[in-house]
């Protein structure tokens, strides 16, 4: 493993040397993406909206290319129309650092459990396969999903709505692994790290932490399978932390190191990055300062139309089938409602099969004929805690936690 990491870093550094010494010779311009599979226009708040569609990434079908290295690949909206679970080869991809091992040997891979424990562990994938197995359907969503819709715009990955996916995760309870190591009294947080490394060794390693009670709640798990198969490398092969109901930043990929801490984790990725204003919907006024910031955590309810694009035309005088997906965030979907009169009145949509409170839930409705002209179709999800999607968008400097009702403009002709 270390060997591969070394290779990857050497490669990245020699790339730098190459660029310095050769300048532009032998390299191509960013505008020519010879391997693009056409392109797509994202319905985000402003230009540039055009993105290449690519199938050049391993174990992946056509994906929206947001960044080649380290990869940021978005799932096209149409994929969510095909089923409640997102296929592995269309599941979105997001990495922070460019030194990603491109080869993982299943036999020599070890997961280390250390720190404030009675007994340090070094577990193989076979060790984990022998432990009691659990399975859970859960949505994995990037904190910055839909950032491209923020206005005023904010820097960062300019995602549309496809930095999310839903899968059946199979693995072992984190609690069982921690119990095997024996958490010493005074252990207050558990920190997770994967095999990826920054190109510059001095840069902060990507590490995330959960409070000990959360880590031991019996729901947080270490997954070795996703939708019944081993994880694609870019989704974290061989092991990924699953934190149901929480944003993906905690779902550490290529999980290789678990450290029980007897002090709060103050590393950059907990204390500074991925923090949000401690306000309702993490909402502030652009330019507002002096706001208390806290680590991002639980997800909030969202809903999307998946079979009709914004700006679509529908024939007048006919019913229209409209369907989509919703999720409750950190609890299940109570209801999905829709409105065709700008939110004055709401009707219940029909919910599809319930795959558990952390899963996508499909919804659909048969819309009666609308008068000729322009209409706005709005869907909103209310979760089991009574939390409902807001009518006004939130705003914060990082473009996190968007969950506003997303109106769809349709024209009846």
């Amino acid at each position: 493993m270390a060997h591969h990491q070394h290779d990857a870093r050497t490669q990245a550094l020699s790339r730098r040397t190459l660029l310095r010494t050769m300048g532009i010779a032998g390299l191509t311009l960013a505008s020519s993406t010879a391997w693009a599979d056409g392109s797509i226009r994202l319905p985000i708040a402003g230009e540039p909206r055009e993105r290449p569609l690519t199938h050049e990434f391993p174990q992946k079908g056509d994906m929206i290319l947001q960044r080649t290295r380290p990869p940021l690949l978005e799932t096209p909206m149409e994929v969510f129309d095909r089923g409640v679970f997102t296929p592995n080869d269309r599941f979105y991809v997001r990495w922070h650092w460019a030194v990603i091992p491109t080869s993982v040997d299943a036999g020599s891979f070890r997961l280390t459990v250390r720190g404030h424990v009675n007994q340090m562990l070094s577990l193989s994938t076979d060790d984990l396969l022998k432990m009691p197995r659990v399975e859970l359907a859960a949505v994995n969503q990037c904190s910055g999903n839909s950032r491209g819709f923020f206005s005023p715009r904010v820097p960062g990955a300019q995602w549309a709505h496809g930095a999310m996916g839903n899968a059946r995760w199979t693995g072992v309870r984190l609690k069982d692994v921690l119990d095997r190591a024996g958490v010493k009294s005074g252990g207050i947080q558990v920190r997770f790290k994967g095999l990826d490394e920054p190109v510059v060794p001095e840069a902060p390693d990507f590490k995330k932490s959960l409070d000990i009670d959360h880590a031991r709640d019996g729901e947080v798990m270490i997954a070795f399978a996703m939708n019944g198969e081993q994880l694609p490398l870019l989704n974290g092969f061989p092991l990924r932390l699953i934190v149901p109901g929480w944003y993906s930043t905690y779902w550490v990929k290529m999980l290789s190191d678990i450290e029980v801490l007897d002090r709060p984790d103050d590393n950059y990725w907990m204390a500074t990055a991925y923090t949000i204003p401690d306000t309702l919907h993490a909402n502030i006024t652009p330019g507002q300062t002096g706001v208390k910031m806290v680590p991002i955590s639980r997800m909030t309810p969202r809903s999307f139309v998946t079979n009709i694009a914004d700006g679509a035309s529908l024939p007048s005088g006919a019913n229209a089938d409209i369907r989509g997906i919703a999720f409750g965030g950190d609890t299940g979907v109570a209801k999905v409602e829709y409105s065709v009169d700008d939110g004055r009145t709401w009707q219940l949509a029909t919910l599809g099969e319930d795959h558990g409170k952390y899963s996508f839930r499909r919804w659909q409705t048969n819309l009666p004929p609308l008068a000729k002209g322009g209409h706005s179709f709005m869907a909103r999800c209310t979760n089991l805690a009574g939390d409902v999607q807001p009518a006004e968008p939130n705003w914060n400097n990082s473009g996190f936690m968007r969950n506003v009702i997303e109106p769809l403009h349709i024209t009846t002709t």
């Binding site: 990245a12 790339r15 660029l19 310095r20 532009i24 390299l27 191509t28 311009l29 960013a30 505008s31 020519s32 993406t33 391997w35 708040a45 402003g46 230009e47 540039p48 993105r51 990434f57 391993p58 174990q59 290319l65 947001q66 960044r67 080649t68 290295r69 380290p70 460019a98 990603i100 491109t102 080869s103 993982v104 299943a106 036999g107 994938t125 396969l129 197995r133 399975e135 715009r153 820097p155 300019q158 059946r168 199979t170 920054p198 190109v199 510059v200 840069a203 902060p204 070795f224 399978a225 019944g228 198969e229 081993q230 490398l233 092969f237 061989p238 950059y268 500074t272 795959h355 558990g356």
Partner: protein
């Protein structure tokens, strides 16, 4: 063909069951080796892009930057500063003005 379809139906029904008693087969975990696209494309702009090409491409590809919205100069200065201070990018101090100029020229907003 029909037989295969029925088999698949049975399989997916089994996979979707939430009965904890259902004994799952151990999934195979096989060693994996992949190749990732290099992402070595340069920023366009000829010599105006020399500074950004020489300093920024070691850690990330150009497309991410080119996909950003137009941002005020202060925002670009802050982004470049974050790369240096927080992410420890070994950017030559003398190249910083040229990098910011390029970003403001191609991705600027007043």
């Amino acid at each position: 063909m029909r037989h295969a379809t029925i088999m698949m139906g049975v399989l997916s029904a089994a996979l979707l069951t939430s009965t904890p008693a259902w004994v799952q087969q151990a999934p195979a975990i096989t060693s994996t080796t992949v190749e990732l696209p290099s992402g070595d494309q340069l920023f366009p702009g000829g010599s105006d892009a020399d500074a950004i090409n020489n300093n920024c491409l070691a850690c990330h590809s150009a497309d991410m930057v080119l996909n950003q919205p137009a941002l005020p100069k202060a925002a670009w200065e802050s982004e470049v500063g974050k790369m240096i201070k927080t992410y420890r990018a070994p950017i030559d101090e003398s190249d910083v003005p040229a990098i910011v100029d390029y970003l403001v020229k191609t991705k600027g907003k007043t």
